[in-house]
């Protein structure tokens, strides 16, 4: 399998504070990879560094092309869709406008219209509410909307930051089911950051564990899930 995303010796800074200390990992095309770790380990920072939303040094290559020093909005055009923590919903705009915004860099209006219908098929609840202000949706519905908005880009890689955050366990199951389906059927590679390690490991094929800005463990998701020692010391379950 070819490598889609290659991150090498990534260091990121918030002002004077260094948050990532030389982190390296890679993601192969078509895979569903998860980054695990405790609060403050640097998971969100890693995703933000990939999209150049935080100052960083080191190499980030997407499909062989370097992403460093490109603006956040131009990185989107490589086909990288980022669902940020807190979902980033355009709360004052309608559900349908949120979906249109996901495709704002695309030029094929016919394709956009049919993709919106496809999203409504994936997430029927969004169709029911398509004229509603997105801020009135429940947390789970907003997360569905955020995923749908990201898919409207027809991304090659989707970055998801804590999609389970604040959702009821049943809703999380649903959402992760859909993510798995998107990964298999639409061939979208996914990098998901999670605190809910158990669930993320069930879903993912590849996993990395971050601690204080460094990768401390990597491997096949099943192996990590089955390794009691790792689970106890890093993942807390």
């Amino acid at each position: 399998m070819t490598t889609l995303l290659n991150v090498k010796d990534l260091r990121a800074y918030y002002g004077q504070v260094q948050a990532l200390h030389g982190l390296s990992f890679s993601l192969s095309e078509g895979s569903l990879t998860t980054l695990l770790g405790a609060n403050g380990a640097g998971k969100t920072t890693t995703l933000r560094a990939i999209c150049n939303m935080v100052r960083s040094t080191g190499g980030i290559e997407f499909d062989g092309k370097p992403l460093n020093n490109r603006s956040t909005e131009s990185i989107v055009r490589f086909g990288i869709a980022h669902v940020p923590q807190g979902r980033g919903t355009f709360t004052t705009m309608t559900v349908e406008e949120n979906l249109q915004l996901g495709a704002i860099t695309r030029k094929d209006s016919a394709g956009i219209v049919s993709d919106i219908e496809r999203m409504y098929a994936h997430f029927p609840v969004l169709k029911q509410r398509h004229t509603q202000q997105a801020g009135t949706l429940s947390g789970g519905e907003q997360q569905m909307l955020a995923v749908a908005r990201a898919l409207m880009l027809r991304p090659r890689l989707m970055l998801l930051d804590e999609p389970s955050f604040g959702l009821a366990p049943l809703v999380v199951r649903d959402l992760f089911g859909i993510l798995g389906k998107i990964n298999r059927e639409d061939k979208v590679s996914i990098l998901v950051v999670e605190q809910n390690a158990q669930l993320a490991l069930e879903l993912a094929d590849q996993a990395y564990v971050i601690e204080t800005g460094r990768i401390v463990m990597s491997g096949n998701a099943k192996d990590i899930a089955n390794n009691e020692e790792i689970r106890k010391s890093y993942l807390g379950y």
Partner: protein, 292 residues
């Protein structure tokens, strides 16, 4: 009764101008979270440019369109040169920037065109509108042009891709960048549009207040009153606020003894203060319905 109708219609006509100014103020406020104190001076300068073009023999509507284009470009230039570098600066730094801009534009206009009051033409004439003594053709023209402008803007923001992108950039900048919108240019575009809208207000009101560097001072205060009344976060509210302030100003001047022309302006200021005290979000200020 005729006096009342007359005052209401005249109020709607000047209200149209306040609505344009309020809208310009709100557009910039939405984009950068600051009030542009120099909005009126920018409009005044645009009006002078159109006057100058007409002095050079260019017909009214051609001068009107050229001025719109120049104002649009000028607004973008002001944002790029002055306010983009101030984007992360504290509020007071920005306020100082706006006041500086105000002074610079005001004195430059005085330097170039001097402070004497000039006549400004109206393309609509000032005969009675449709034979009615209630409203003049110029007042009807002010209302007509403003309504066309508002419809155009509504269409632009509601149904075009770039309008959608501008709204997104103003509401959640970070998410807007994550879907690939260049928010920095959207802000510049907002400045350009706001400046162009202001220039329309200036060119329409100039035949009434006459052309001179301080012509927009009072108008901008009414525009602020309108924006605050309607809600600084609501372009629709700004427009409604503009018409309400225009009508209210005229009726107060006519019917409240002792107000007359001299005390009309303090009424606008009193309105700003009362709205801020009673309903700080304004009539149509954003209530974000949010489930957590």
């Amino acid at each position: 009764m005729e006096l009342f109708t007359n005052q209401v219609l005249a109020g709607i006509a000047t209200g149209a101008i306040y609505a344009c100014m309020a809208l310009a103020v709100v557009m910039i406020y939405q984009a950068i979270d600051h009030l542009n104190f120099a909005q009126g001076e920018m409009a005044m300068f645009s009006t002078f440019i159109s006057w100058q073009l007409m002095q050079w023999g260019i017909p009214y509507w051609a001068a009107f369109v050229i001025t719109l284009a120049l104002s649009f470009v000028g607004g973008i230039a002001i944002e790029r040169i002055l306010f983009k570098p101030l984007a992360k600066a504290p509020v007071l730094t920005n306020v100082a920037g706006f006041i500086a801009l105000f002074a610079i534009i005001n004195s430059s206009a005085g330097l170039i065109w001097d402070f004497t009051i000039k006549q400004y033409p109206t393309p609509f004439g000032s005969s009675p509108f449709l034979g009615s003594q209630l409203i003049s053709t110029h007042q009807a023209g002010m209302i007509g042009v403003t309504v066309l402008l508002l419809l155009g803007l509504y269409f632009f923001f509601q149904y075009t891709k770039i309008g959608l992108a501008m709204r997104a950039a103003a509401s959640v900048p970070e998410s807007a960048r994550l879907v690939g919108i260049n928010t920095s240019w959207m802000i510049a575009l907002g400045w350009g549009m706001a400046t162009a809208i202001g220039s329309i207000a200036g060119m329409l009101i100039a035949p009434v207040v006459f052309l001179e560097p301080n012509m927009m001072g009072g108008v901008l205060i009414y525009g602020f009153a309108a924006a605050v009344l309607g809600g600084l976060t609501s372009p629709f509210g700004a427009v409604v606020g503009g018409f309400l302030v225009g009508v209210f100003e005229n009726l107060a001047g006519t019917y409240i003894p002792g107000v007359g022309n001299e005390l009309k302006l303090p009424i606008a200021l009193a309105l700003i203060i009362s709205v801020l005290v009673v309903k700080p979000a304004g009539l149509f200020g954003r209530h974000i319905v949010k489930r957590v």
